[in-house]
Every structure is written in structure tokens, then in C-alpha cells.
Amino acid sequence: MLKSTSTISWLVFAGAALLLSLLLQDLYLRSVLNLIAISALLAVSLRFVMLMGELNFAIAAFVGIGAYAAGYMSTAMEVPFWLAILIAGIGTGIVSAAFGAVTLRAKGPYFLLIGFAFTEAIRVAYSKVPALGGTSGMVGIFPPIAMDPWMPFFVMATVIVLLLIFFILERSDFGRVLFAIREKEEVARSVGINTFIYKIATIAFACFAAGIAGGLHAFVNNVISPGDFSYLMAAFALAYVKVGGEDHFFGPILGAIFLVSLSAYSLGFGGDEHFIYGGAIVLVVLLLPKGAVGAIANMRPKKAHVKGGGHAALEQ
């Protein structure tokens, strides 16, 4: 892909998103937009780790760590909100590096299931700490009142900056090493690359982003509880990636937009929300195995067969 087309797509996308976050007035839609932005960040973070061939199912635990850290710093220690989010992110990154150092020896399904076990253990742990509000949750996590009209913009801007960094990393040599690790780790090591350090760095950055997402989540919702950060959050992030298409950078973002909107819509169906959500996931996985992006890619005419320009594509 030519650099110029991706730069243009980026400018268009980022510009549209930021404009939307500034101009949207309806309170409800603003809340949904925040949710979409945070979910997109999570999905992209998850996919980033998938580039090296691992499924970081512990992501929900790290979102929680970020959220509680930011929340605690803001409510109990009166740290200014943007600083709380930043420190929360860095702290989460460090914890995840330690986690990765210990657990990355396990691969594939084992790493997946450790992540699952870790998420559930941390969730139980939060509920036992009274300073964090226990199971009833932590309240009062508010950004300064002056920020209220600007919150969606702040959230969107933070998310876009992080997405950009993910994109640049993926396109750079760092990304190439990750692909190499996924394909055949031994070969990468044989040319002298310290694959372990790359893996740790990947997890650390991905979970730094997850921690920031957690901090944003805390300030957007104002109340957090251990139940928010269960394995379902990781499962949904994975659904965004798969439904959107894991082969392309924008896939998870599309998936997040679609599924979060669907979930907001189906909230009105009461207890059937999960049913609709689950049904959507099953349908998409079965019918569109490459996700939405894959489906769109299939629609593009293959260059060799097209004569007479792009008009033929519209007839499909």
C-alpha cells in the first residue's frame, strides 16, 4: 500500500472522528461514542499482540488495573485526571511486562487460558480490598467540571494518538519482527533477534494502551466495579477483532463500531441483549470468516481481470 493513500485515509478517518466528538451534542450519543472509542482502542491493542501470534486474553485484567489505578489516584490522592490516566497507563504497562516475562513461556492456548485465569483472580482480588470499594465499586471518578463538554474530544484524541502509534509500529521494522516471530520464531532467533524482549515490549505497550483505556473508562463512567473487568470484556474485544477482520489494521476498529452500536441498540431488549449479541457474533464468524474487512476486500475486483476501469466493480 502506498504511503500516501494510508496517510490520506488516516487524515480523513481521524478528522471525521475528532469532528464528530466535538460537534455531537446529544448526551446519549456522546456516551456511545466514548464507548466506541475505548472499545476500538482495546480491539486494536488485542490485535497488536495477535501480530506476534499470541492471544492476550488477560487484557481485561489490565484494563481493570488501569481503571482502578486512575480511579484511586483521582479520588483518594487528588491527582489531576490526565496525570492519573497517564500514570495508570505506565503502571499497567510495567505490571504487564512482569506478567509477560513470567507467562510468555507458555504459548497459544496455554497463554490464552492463563490470561483467563489471571483475569478472574484479579477480579476476585479487587472485591476483597475495601480501599477500592469492594464489590460495590469505586465511585466519584470525575474529571473537572470544566472538562465535561470536552470529554468525548479528549477521549477520541487520546485514542487516535495511541492508534496512530500502533499503526506506525506495525508498519515499521518492529512490526516486521513481530510477523517473523509469529511465522517461525526459531528463524528470527537464528538471525540474532532477541525474540523474548520483543514479545515483552509488545505486551507492555499493548497493555499500556489497555491501562489508558481503563483510565478513560473510569472517568467516562464515573463508577467502576470488579464485575466490569471480567473475561467477557476480553471476549468482546476479540469479537470486535474477528468481526471486523483481523488481517487489516482498521478491521478491529470497524468491528468495534459495529458491535458496540449493536449492543447499545439491543439494550432495549432487556435480557435478550446477550442473545442478540451472541447471535450476531456467531453469524458473522460463520458467514464472514475474514470479517467485514475481508468481505470488502473480496469485493474489490482483481486488477488483472478488469478492463475499462473501476466501473465493473459496481455491478457485483
Binding site: 464489590t135 435480557g271 446477550h274
Partner: protein, 392 residues
């Protein structure tokens, strides 16, 4: 079909479905009442029962002519969303109810974490909230538009524990168990104080994770302290039944209490004979001698609709509508602030049959608690029987 066609038809289908599901234009004055309860997962039946009770009350009010305010007649409509018992979903529900549906009154809410999320948004918008949640932090003078629609441990325990101690003067020690969450922790705190005041020694106070299904080790541990009384606090009836069954197998026998147990059906389902003699503080009986005809009729319909007898939690969702009606008519307004100001002084007829009002100044610093009767019940010969009733 090509992928493109598949996408197009699915998108079209979604569009059509969304228009079909769009709310119909209202032909009369309707006040939408939001409900935030768990509608899926382990507590789903509470949410479903709550919805049922809200709709029952709304129907009864409609048949009686609606709510008259400033010459206009209003009817209630119940909008029930699933908060999945956690704060993130509670926030989504709150956003949807207040900002998407334009709701100004919450007919009922369940689950401390989601209720906190709801309250936070409600207060910024000046909406009125009814809740069954027990956290005392939700109810003080800083929350002038929040009202509680059921008895909480603060009201129930002194009465219940007092009764038990009176009936079993030889019982000197108690072992407590609670689920590891806000409800359990609040209950444990209050219970510990009250047992202490009654000079009963607390030999153990444990917590367990909700969702546990194997209770043998827990039961064995409780029995090992050899207590005269085992108090299961806020443990849901089904879990409590399983624990008592295990205790029975081990051979423990003594005074059995499920303080804020709400119903005998779950207890009997899992406990069988071991459920005999259990005391409960939030149970509701539907026998002809203590229940009104109206109660029995509604309960029969409830059993058909949701599969279980009603409990005190769900009844709160009926009472709140009648309280709202009374307050709206007293304030002659449908503005939530005005209604909230009128609420502490109104009386209305509760599902339990009596006319009641609000109280709570002493305990919470504010009059916000429905003055509901505290009913002590016990399982006798397999049936739940009312053994004591106090109106505070």
C-alpha cells in the same frame, strides 16, 4: 450470493427491524418509569419478577383511572433494562434510560454497583430514583432524590435476631457466612453488631464467591466451630439450601437463619428436608391466614409468569409506583424535584395490605425509607409460615 449481496440484505434486514422496533407514538400522557435490574445471569429471576410487579402496578393504576395532576391524567409505563449486576452495564443502562429514553423517574433499581452508577447520573439530571440496594452510602442527605423501596438489614436484623434469641435462649454462639460482595459485606457488619448486642458470641464470619456450587468444604468449616446458630446472612436461598443440606449430612443441628432470605422456593429446592426450621427476615408468605386475597391472586400470576413465588425485592417494584402516584398527586406536579420533596410526607397502600409512609431520619439522616412491615418467617413442615410481624 456474493458477499456484497449478503451484506446488503443483512443491512436492509437490520434497518427494517429497527424501524419495526421503534417505539410507537403515544396517544395518551405516559410517564416512563425506568428499571435497572439484572435480567440475565444468576439474578435474572429477580429482574424478571421486578418487571412483572412494575407492570402489574401500572396496570392496576391504569384501571383505577391513572394519576391526576393539574387536571391531566397520566399512566405509567415500565421500561426495564439489564444492568448485569456491574457498574459498566449500570452506566450504559443509566445513559440509555435518562438520555435516550428521557426517563425522569426510576421505578426501581437492583445491585449496589449499578445503582451507584445510576445514581451518579440521576443526580446530575435531577431525576428521582427508587432502589432496593442496601448500601447505606446511597441514602444520606447528599442524595435527596433517592428512596428505598424495601427493608434493608438495618431494619430487618434487630427485629429478626431479637425474635430468634427470644425463642432460643440457650443459643450462645453463631457462625456467619455471607457472599463476597457489597450486599454480603453490609449485612455482615450490621449482623455482627446486633448479635453482639444480644450477647451471642460470633465464632466465625466467612465469605464465599457467588457462583460457587460445591458447598461441602464451606459447610464443613462452619460446622467445625460447633456453633449453636448458623447465620447465612445475605446468601441467596438456593445456595443457603445447599449449605444446610451439606450441614445435615455432616450431622450439624442447630438454629438456622438466612437473615435476608427472600423466598422459600429456592431454599426447599436445594435443601429439601434440611430447610426445615430456617428463619428468614425478608420472606413473604402467601397463606390464606396472613396474606390478602389480592396478594394471593397476584402471586399466582407471578408464579406462572416467572416460575417462582414473589419475594420482598420484587414487591418493592410494585410499591414504588403507588408511592409515586401519591407523591405526584400531593405535589400536583410531575417534576421529579417537586415529587421528591413531597415524597417523605405521603401515605400509600403497600402490597402488604397496609397504608404506610416513609421514615429513616434516625438511621440515614433523611426520610427516605418505605415504612414496610418487617416479617419474620420460618419454614415449618415444608411451608413458609409467618411467625412475627412488626411495623416500625
Amino acid at each position: 450470493m456474493t458477499i456484497f449481496n449478503k451484506c446488503a440484505t443483512s443491512a436492509a434486514a437490520i434497518l427494517v427491524a429497527s424501524f419495526a422496533a421503534a417505539p410507537m407514538v403515544q396517544a395518551e400522557e405516559v410517564i416512563k418509569l425506568g428499571l435497572s435490574t439484572p435480567l440475565s445471569g444468576a439474578a435474572a429471576i429477580w429482574g424478571k419478577g421486578a418487571e412483572f410487579m412494575c407492570e402489574t402496578a401500572a396496570e392496576e393504576i391504569r384501571e383505577a383511572g391513572g394519576v391526576s395532576v393539574q387536571g391531566e391524567t397520566y399512566f405509567f409505563e415500565c421500561l426495564s433494562y439489564d444492568n448485569k449486576y456491574n457498574a459498566a452495564e449500570g452506566t450504559k443502562v443509566a445513559q440509555a434510560l435518562f438520555n435516550r429514553e428521557g426517563v425522569k423517574f426510576i421505578g426501581g433499581s437492583l445491585g449496589t454497583a449499578p445503582v451507584r452508577a445510576l445514581q451518579s447520573l440521576a443526580e446530575r439530571q435531577g431525576a428521582l430514583v427508587f432502589t432496593t440496594a442496601w448500601g447505606a452510602s446511597l441514602k444520606g442527605p447528599e442524595h435527596p432524590t433517592t428512596f428505598t423501596q424495601m427493608n434493608t438489614p438495618g431494619e430487618i436484623l434487630p427485629e429478626l435476631i431479637g425474635y430468634i434469641v427470644e425463642q432460643h435462649p440457650g443459643a450462645e454462639s453463631v457462625a456467619m457466612l455471607n457472599p463476597n460482595d457489597a450486599t454480603g459485606q453490609e449485612t455482615e457488619e450490621i449482623a455482627a453488631t446486633v448479635w453482639g448486642e444480644q450477647d451471642v458470641e460470633i465464632v466465625a464470619s466467612d465469605y464465599y464467591e457467588r457462583g460457587t456450587t460445591e458447598f461441602q468444604p464451606i459447610a464443613a468449616r462452619l460446622a467445625s466451630f460447633d456453633p449453636d446458630i448458623i447465620d447465612l446472612g445475605a446468601t441467596p436461598p438456593a445456595d443457603a439450601g445447599a449449605i444446610f443440606k451439606e450441614l445435615d449430612v455432616i450431622g450439624w443441628d442447630g438454629v438456622k437463619v438466612v437473615e435476608v432470605g427472600t423466598g422459600a422456593d429456592g431454599l426447599k429446592a436445594t435443601g429439601g428436608d434440611a430447610a426445615e426450621g430456617v428463619y428468614m427476615g425478608a420472606g413473604v408468605t402467601f397463606n390464606a391466614d396472613t396474606a390478602t386475597e389480592h396478594q394471593i391472586k397476584v402471586n399466582e400470576r407471578a408464579k406462572e409468569a416467572i416460575g417462582e413465588s414473589l419475594n420482598a425485592v420484587q414487591i418493592g417494584f410494585y410499591d414504588s409506583l403507588f408511592a409515586l402516584k401519591a407523591a405526584m398527586e400531593a405535589a400536583d406536579s410531575v417534576d421529579p424535584q417537586a415529587v421528591a420533596e413531597a415524597m417523605p410526607d405521603v401515605t400509600f397502600k403497600t402490597f402488604y395490605g397496609s397504608d404506610i409512609g416513609f421514615y429513616g431520619e434516625e438511621r440515614y439522616g433523611r426520610v427516605q425509607q418505605m415504612r414496610l412491615p418487617i416479617i419474620v418467617t420460618q419454614v415449618q413442615n415444608g411451608e413458609l409460615v409467618e411467625v412475627g410481624r412488626l411495623t416500625p
